[in-house]
């Protein structure tokens, strides 16, 4: 049983919503999909922690009923199911949400029963923790990659393809200049990825990782040569 696949954490939360608020919240979620909502939810993108996150409103009559033998649900409340895939620890994630989009969170969890609001932090922590369900099986196609790795990899690939396409046509010196220029552009994107899990569980994994790379990559700073950008021609 694990909420973790490499660098990515799975969160599942189910919360009740009372009465007509369920339908009002549907309208709010429709609004959340529009550009008008960017002021309240634009902070989601800046978090750079989240691969994908989804909110699913489930009416009390909408739990799948597939067989006459299956008892029909008889619920007082409608429900909202939340699934997230994110990087970092649970605390970092919940804290980041609370910090980056407090009004957005209040919009997304509006009128959920006993929702305390996103501020202050501790009641919000307790609410999410109480309504959370543990994942039994979690799969990531790229456990070594965080969201920023996924985004930066595309940039690295594009640059490498472009340089590969012209390498044979360049003189040695022209290639060196093009290579250095590319590295400067990719300085935030070139990094070795590992499967280090969330910070709170990472100590052994960090130790293993350092031992593994000790032979192949020296961490001595005097081996790093700064790249000089050449003058524009």
């Amino acid at each position: 049983m694990s909420n973790i696949a490499g660098k990515t954490f799975a969160m599942n939360v189910i919360t009740p919503i009372k009465g007509v608020n369920f339908y009002i919240n549907k309208v709010i979620f429709w609004f959340a999909n529009t550009k008008l909502a960017s002021s309240r939810l634009g902070g989601l993108a800046t978090l750079s922690l989240i691969h994908y996150a989804r909110w699913v409103l489930i009416g009390k009559d909408q739990f799948p009923h597939l067989h006459p033998d299956q008892p029909k649900e008889d619920l007082h409340y409608n429900y909202m199911l939340f699934h997230s895939n994110f990087n970092g620890s649970w605390d970092q994630y919940v804290d980041s949400f609370h910090k980056a989009i407090p009004k957005g969170l209040d919009l997304l969890w509006r009128k959920n029963v006993k929702y305390p609001g996103s501020v202050p932090l501790q009641p919000f922590h307790a609410y999410i923790n109480f309504n959370q369900i543990w994942t039994s099986h979690y799969y990531s196609a790229y456990p070594s990659a965080a969201v920023n790795d996924v985004k930066s990899a595309k940039k690295v690939k594009t640059a490498l393809v472009a340089l590969t396409d012209k390498v044979e046509t360049l003189s040695d010196q022209a290639f060196k200049e093009a290579y250095d220029e590319m590295l400067i552009d990719l300085q935030h994107d070139v990094s070795v990825m590992e499967d280090t899990p969330v910070v709170s569980l990472a100590s052994q994994a960090v130790k293993d990782r350092r031992a593994k790379y000790q032979e192949t990559i020296s961490m001595n700073s005097d081996k790093v040569i700064p790249i000089q950008r050449t003058a524009n021609k």
């Binding site: 694990s2 039994s136 790229y142």
Partner: protein, 210 residues
């Protein structure tokens, strides 16, 4: 449609579990046991399903009582929850799930109501769509501004190149221009940036757990 954000599809499946299998045998306990025993990373059944970015399984036992004076709710069935984020079309994905991981699918869903009606690809798609819940709001953080998701194979190739190039940069510092060019040409021949292979396998992990 809220199930889709950029080119990623967010699939949420709730399959009710038949609780009384036999005397003293609980369907939800058996189901949970199966999904907890599934192999991880590149050995996961979802590694065999094309274009699966992230997927999870768990059993929804019940909803939570929020405390007085709120009313107490209880689900009459437990539900197997399958949530997946993948690239592309739903029918194509479910077909890939059926053909790529059929033995695992049959074992995972074995104790769910009406799964006995699933006998082939077509009936599997019908069953899954009966269990599907529509996403209300889908946030895609995996793409930059103005970008779209790319297929998993393209993504894995990009990650492979990022990883290998980072090592190349570290190991090829302070070379002369002709040495660097020669090393880069060799790097390109090995990593083939323009080609789909070599690449990372889906679920690839250096700390693989089988």
């Amino acid at each position: 449609m809220s199930n889709v954000a950029s080119k990623a599809y967010g699939l949420t499946i709730l399959s009710p579990i038949r609780e009384k299998i036999a005397q003293g045998v609980s369907g939800s306990v058996l189901t949970r046991s199966v999904i907890e025993d599934l192999k991880l990373h590149q050995h996961s059944p979802f590694a065999k399903v094309a274009n699966t970015y992230l997927a999870r399984l768990y059993v929804l036992n019940d909803v939570m009582f929020q405390g007085y004076p709120e009313q107490e709710d209880h689900l009459k069935s437990k539900y197997l929850v399958f949530a997946s984020n993948f690239y592309g079309d739903l029918d194509e994905y479910l077909t890939g799930l059926w053909h790529g991981a059929q033995a695992d699918v049959k074992q995972i869903w074995a104790h769910c109501y009406d799964f006995e009606s699933v006998t082939d690809e077509a009936s599997f798609l019908i069953y899954m769509k009966k269990c599907q819940l529509e996403t209300t709001f889908f946030f895609n953080g995996s793409v930059g501004l103005g970008e779209d998701d790319i297929s998993l194979n393209e993504q894995l190739k990009a990650l492979y190149l990022k990883q290998e190039f980072a090592k190349f940069v570290w190991n090829n510092q302070s070379l002369s221009p002709n040495e660097l060019k020669a090393a880069f040409i060799e790097f390109s021949h090995i990593t083939q940036p323009n080609q789909p292979e070599p690449s990372w396998a889906p679920g690839h992990s250096d700390i693989a757990q089988g």
